[in-house]
């Protein structure tokens, strides 16, 4: 069982990406489970779950630094015993710091494939400049293996390039992928990366 963490600020497109990734990874022959904060928030209907063999579990609430991490560990352990998925996609709360989840997961010997952090290109001015947001956004981006620039179809090439430069400065280590759920850009690239890493692992 391997873990894929999808993080990012509220409204950055995490849920959409998760559904698309879950479908693609299922079609590629993986048994996929999804952990979310609130099942009701994720529009996966029964038919889709059945068709793709998806398991969706709640993480529950609590303090982002400990209760959520503890809850996630408990749920992951149960999933490993019962459903035995190949890949678990985790969507922590929009305030979560991905690194703290990675630390806890390592200690229970579950391999983490990647941390994907979404960055909403169309709201970059707010995310990078509002004093009440930039600290959190920067903390999340620094933990990313892949930064997915989301909603690139909503902005000009200059705007997308500006976002790319900005996130590169925050995390020069991360691979940056341009994502548009509307046009379907980027999903295949992310799936391919996951599969390459998964095979190597």
């Amino acid at each position: 069982m391997k873990l894929l963490q999808i993080a990012g600020y509220l409204g950055s497109g995490k849920t959409t990406l998760i559904i698309e990734l879950a479908r693609s990874l299922s079609e590629a022959g993986n048994k996929v489970a999804i952990l979310v904060n609130e099942i009701g928030e994720i529009p996966v209907d029964g038919r889709v779950m059945q068709d793709y063999g998806l398991t969706v579990k709640d993480i529950g609430g609590g303090c982002i630094c400990c209760q959520v991490v503890g809850s996630m560990i408990g749920t992951l352990k149960k999933l490993a015993e019962s459903q035995k998925p190949d890949i678990v996609i985790v969507e922590p709360t929009g305030l979560a710091v991905p690194g703290s989840i990675s630390d806890a997961v390592k200690r229970i010997n579950i391999e983490q494939l990647l941390i994907i952090v979404l960055f909403d290109t169309s709201r970059q001015e707010k995310l990078l400049n509002y004093d009440s947001l930039k600290r959190l956004i920067s903390t999340q981006l620094k933990d990313a293996d892949i930064i997915a620039l989301s909603k690139v179809d909503l902005g000009s090439e200059d705007i997308v390039e500006h976002a790319l430069q900005a996130v590169s400065r925050i995390n020069p280590r991360a691979r940056i992928i341009k994502l548009s759920s509307k046009r379907g850009d980027g999903i295949l690239e992310i799936v391919k990366t996951i599969q390459e890493i998964s095979v190597k692992a």
């Binding site: 409204g11 609430g61 930039k134």
Partner: protein, 338 residues
């Protein structure tokens, strides 16, 4: 041989008076599976049933000698009393903390402080649990309770993205909201005090520098914490999780009797900044050390908190319930033996 009761030890300690040894306690949620199993308590129901809530809280003292009984266990009590709709996960297998599934507040004008706070939402559940604990253990054990700070509570009653954006674009509006919530928080603390709670923790997790810049903490959150701590019952504790080293002096200036930090805080640096007068509580990692660690590592990790600068060992956050019994026992044994 010690003649001090755990209650005397905790309360004297928090007042800065001399004690025979530092107490082993917490001001945050601490309910663990070994207790839930022993007393056959359903976790989801314990949030809504005062008898179960009191039994689970008392079990920490009865089973392990943990020197406190703290209620409630989740972070939604006050939000629910203000109209937020909760999900208790009663039909879900495993332990899940309740979440707020519907938020109803957008502005300060939407905050309707109930006339009858004592009977709003689950506040009567918590007060009844405090009364039960008072009657059963009140002479021996200090009874603690907590409420979220105004910014964290704002995040439980108002959509987070709106809160963050507003706090930058229209901080005066956020200030009005926090002011109203502060008024509510002070009133709820008074209800808990009247029910018999002995010590009080204000948990402002949203103020962490992982999320808010120190500048925003100082300008937006700190004034409200000062106001609340000046009015709330004592002894009181201010807790903020995550990265707090850059705001630790501001935390001290908020005026609490003690300051609580989590495992991300560098305690030696904090002690150096705050001097020896301030009571600092912390800061072992409740997940990494107590839940996932080996029993033989728990004692050294806990004692390390004292060496690093804490006046008493307590967890950096709520205890995650799935704590192995031997780890909990190791914590108590190592600290009681000195």
């Amino acid at each position: 041989m010690s003649t001090m009761t755990p209650k005397q030890r905790v309360l004297k300690f928090l007042k800065g008076e001399e004690v025979d040894r530092p107490p082993i306690f917490s001001g945050m949620g601490n309910v663990v599976v070994p207790v839930l199993e022993k007393y056959e308590i359903n976790f989801a129901r314990a949030h809504r049933d005062p008898v179960l809530m009191a039994k689970a809280a008392a079990g920490m003292y009865r089973e392990f000698g943990f020197e406190c009984a703290v209620v409630p266990f989740d972070l939604g009590v006050e939000a629910e009393a203000l109209g937020s709709v909760m999900n208790y996960y009663e039909d879900v297998e495993g332990l899940l903390y309740p979440t707020v599934k519907e938020k109803v507040i957008k502005t300060a004008e939407d905050v309707h402080i109930p006339d009858d706070i004592k009977n709003a939402g689950r506040i009567p559940v918590v007060t009844e649990a405090i009364r039960i604990l008072r009657s059963e253990l009140g002479d021996e054990v200090a009874i603690g309770t907590y409420i979220l700070g105004p910014f964290t509570l704002a995040g439980q009653v108002k959509e987070l993205d709106e809160l963050f954006e507003e706090s930058f674009l229209a901080p005066e509006k956020t200030n009005m909201l926090l002011d109203r919530l502060s008024e509510f928080i002070i009133k709820v603390f008074k209800v808990y005090k009247d029910a018999g709670a002995d010590y009080f923790t204000l948990r402002e997790m949203g103020g962490t520098s992982d999320v808010m810049s120190p500048k925003s903490f100082k300008s937006l959150i700190k004034p409200h914490l000062i106001k609340i701590l000046a009015a709330m019952p004592r002894p009181n504790i201010l807790h903020i999780c995550g990265d707090t080293n850059s705001i630790i002096e501001d935390m001290k200036e908020c005026g609490a009797d003690a300051i609580s930090v989590d495992q991300k805080n560098c305690l030696p640096e904090t002690r150096k900044k705050l001097g020896h007068e301030t009571i600092i509580l912390g800061n072992f990692d409740p997940v990494k050390v107590l839940m996932q660690g080996k029993a033989e590592d728990v004692g050294p990790a806990a004692k390390g908190c004292i060496t690093a600068g804490a006046n008493a060992v307590w967890p950096g956050c709520d205890l995650w319930p799935e704590v192995p019994k031997k780890n909990m026992q190791a914590l108590m044994d190592s600290l009681k033996s000195g």
